[in-house]
C-alpha cells in the first residue's frame, strides 16, 4: 500500500494546482492561435509550449537546475537573446525606402507617442485599487506600443522582469492583430480622397548610401543616447553586414540560422515566465488592456502626423502610411498597402509604407533608450 501511495505521489495528478491547469490552458490557447489561426506562429508556438512545460508539476523546468531556468538566465536575464534577434532583424531590413524619403522618419517618431501616452495611462491605472505600477513597470508596459517584440522583451528584462511574460505575450499577440486593430483607426481618421492619394516614385539609392546609413545612425546614437546603443548597435551591425556585400555568409547566418535558433530559445524562455503566480494577476489584465490602447494611440498619432505632412506637402503624401510608423515590420506596411488598395485598386503604397515602417523600428529603439536612460 505504501508503494501505491509513493507511486501516486510521483504522478502529476496528485500535484496539479488550479493555477497550473489554467496556465496550461493559456499555453494551449497560444498553440491554437499559432497553429490554427497562424498568429505570429514563429513566436507564439514556442511561447505556448514553454508555458505548458513550465507548469508541469514536479518537473521543475523553471526552478533552479531546470532547462527553462537556464535558458531564461542565459538568454533573457542578460538581454542577449533580444539583442541577437535585433541583429538578425537589422540584417533583414532594407532602408532604401527611408533613405530615398527621409521625411518618413517623422512618422516613425510620431507613432512613438503610443509608448509615452501608455506610460501615462499605466500610472493613471494606479488610481484603481489593486494596481500598483511603479514607473519602471509602467515604462516596460508602455514599450508594447513600440510594436517591436525584441525591444519590448529587452526593456522588460531590464526594468520589470516580473511582468515580462505578460508583456511579451501582449506585444506579440497585438503584433499579430495589427491587421484587425489598425484599419478601423486608419479609416476613421482619413477621408476617402486622402486614402486615394498616389505617391511619386522613390529615387534610386546608391549602395554607398546604404552602407554609410547604419554607421551614421550608430554614430548619432553613440553621441546622443548611449543607453540605446545595445539595441541600435546590434541592429546597425546586422544591417551593415547585409549592405556592405562582403560578408554575405555572415549576413545570411544572422538573418536565417542564428535568428531562428535564438527565436526557439527566446520563445521557450518567455513561455517559462507564464507561471500562475506571475500571470494570473490583475496586472496582466491591465497590461493587456494598456497594450491595445498603446497600439491604437500609436497608429492614430502616426496617421495624424501623416495628415499634417500631407497638407504641408500639398497632397503628395498619403496619410495612410503614417500607420506604418508603429514598427511591426512588415505587417503594418502590408496593412497600409491593403487599405490603400481598397480605396484605389491601382494604388500600391507598400514601398512608401516601408519608409515609416523601418523608421518606427529606429523610433521605438530610441524610445526604449530614453526610458532606460531616464527610468532604469
Amino acid at each position: 500500500m505504501d508503494k501505491l501511495q509513493v507511486l501516486w505521489d510521483s504522478t502529476a495528478l496528485a500535484h496539479f494546482e488550479s493555477g497550473q491547469l489554467i496556465m496550461m490552458a493559456v499555453g494551449f490557447g497560444l498553440l491554437y492561435l499559432a497553429i490554427v489561426k497562424k498568429f505570429e506562429p514563429l513566436l507564439l508556438l514556442p511561447i505556448g509550449f514553454g508555458a505548458l512545460l513550465t507548469n508541469i508539476p514536479l518537473a521543475g523546468f523553471s526552478e533552479t537546475g531546470g532547462l527553462l531556468y537556464y535558458i531564461y538566465k542565459i538568454g533573457i536575464d542578460t538581454g542577449v537573446f533580444p539583442l541577437l534577434i535585433f541583429m538578425g532583424v537589422g540584417a533583414m531590413t532594407d532602408f532604401s525606402a527611408l533613405i530615398a524619403n527621409p521625411k518618413m522618419l517623422l512618422l516613425g517618431a510620431a507613432a512613438q507617442f503610443g509608448i509615452f501616452a501608455t506610460l501615462f495611462g499605466a500610472i493613471a491605472l494606479n488610481l484603481i485599487p489593486g494596481f500598483e505600477f511603479t514607473l519602471k513597470d509602467a515604462s516596460a508596459i508602455a514599450i508594447i506600443g513600440g510594436a517591436d517584440g525584441p525591444t519590448a522583451i529587452f526593456l522588460a528584462s531590464r526594468l520589470a522582469p516580473d511582468l515580462l511574460g505578460a508583456i511579451a505575450v501582449a506585444a506579440y499577440s497585438y503584433m499579430a492583430l495589427v491587421p484587425i486593430i489598425q484599419p478601423p483607426i486608419m479609416k476613421a481618421l482619413t477621408t476617402k480622397e486622402e486614402r486615394e492619394i498616389k505617391m511619386g516614385q522613390l529615387r534610386p539609392v546608391s549602395k554607398r548610401e546604404k552602407i554609410i546609413f547604419p554607421l551614421a545612425v550608430l554614430f548619432m546614437t553613440i553621441l546622443f543616447l548611449p543607453a540605446a546603443t545595445p539595441l541600435v548597435g546590434m541592429f546597425c551591425f546586422g544591417n551593415l553586414m547585409k549592405e556592405c556585400g562582403v560578408v554575405d555568409r555572415l549576413s545570411k547566418t544572422a538573418q536565417n540560422e542564428l535568428i531562428n535558433t535564438v527565436t526557439i530559445f527566446l520563445g521557450l524562455a518567455v513561455g517559462s515566465k507564464l507561471s500562475a503566480d506571475k500571470f494570473l494577476t490583475l496586472e496582466t489584465l491591465g497590461i493587456l488592456g494598456l497594450g491595445a490602447i498603446a497600439f491604437a494611440i500609436g497608429t492614430a498619432a502616426g496617421v495624424l502626423m501623416a495628415k499634417v505632412m500631407s497638407r504641408l506637402s500639398g497632397g503628395t503624401i498619403n496619410p495612410l502610411i503614417g500607420a506604418a510608423g508603429v514598427s511591426a515590420v512588415p505587417m503594418a506596411a502590408r496593412v497600409v498597402n491593403k487599405v490603400g488598395l481598397e480605396a484605389n485598386p491601382h494604388n500600391f503604397l507598400l514601398m512608401h509604407a516601408m519608409g515609416p515602417n523601418v523608421a518606427g523600428v529606429l523610433g521605438s529603439a530610441v524610445a526604449a533608450g530614453i526610458l532606460l536612460a531616464l527610468v532604469g
Partner: protein, 88 residues
C-alpha cells in the same frame, strides 16, 4: 498607493512623455539632416553606378489590354536569347 504619490508619479510620467517625444523627434529630425548630408556626399563622390530601389511589382503592368500577348511573348523570347548569348 496614496493619491499624493500617484499624483507625483503622474507628474513624472507626464514630463517623461514630453521629454521623450521631444527627444525622439529631435533625434530622428537630426537623422533626416544626416541622410540628406549622406546623399549630398554620395552625389559629390559617386563611387559606383547607383542601383535602382527594388520596385513593387505591379501585376497590372504585365497584362496591359493594349498590347497583344504575342508581342509580349516575342519580346520575352528575344530578351531570353540575348541573355543566353551574352552570358559568359
Amino acid at each position: 498607493m496614496n493619491s499624493d504619490s500617484i499624483a507625483s508619479l503622474l507628474f513624472e510620467a507626464g514630463s517623461l512623455m514630453l521629454i521623450g517625444m521631444l527627444f525622439v523627434f529631435s533625434f530622428l529630425g537630426l537623422l533626416i539632416i544626416g541622410i540628406h548630408l549622406i546623399a549630398r556626399f554620395c552625389e559629390a563622390f559617386p563611387g559606383e553606378v547607383a542601383e535602382p530601389t527594388p520596385q513593387v511589382k505591379r501585376p497590372n503592368q504585365a497584362i496591359q489590354p493594349g498590347i497583344d500577348g504575342n508581342v509580349i511573348a516575342a519580346i520575352s523570347a528575344a530578351i531570353h536569347t540575348h541573355r543566353q548569348a551574352t552570358k559568359k
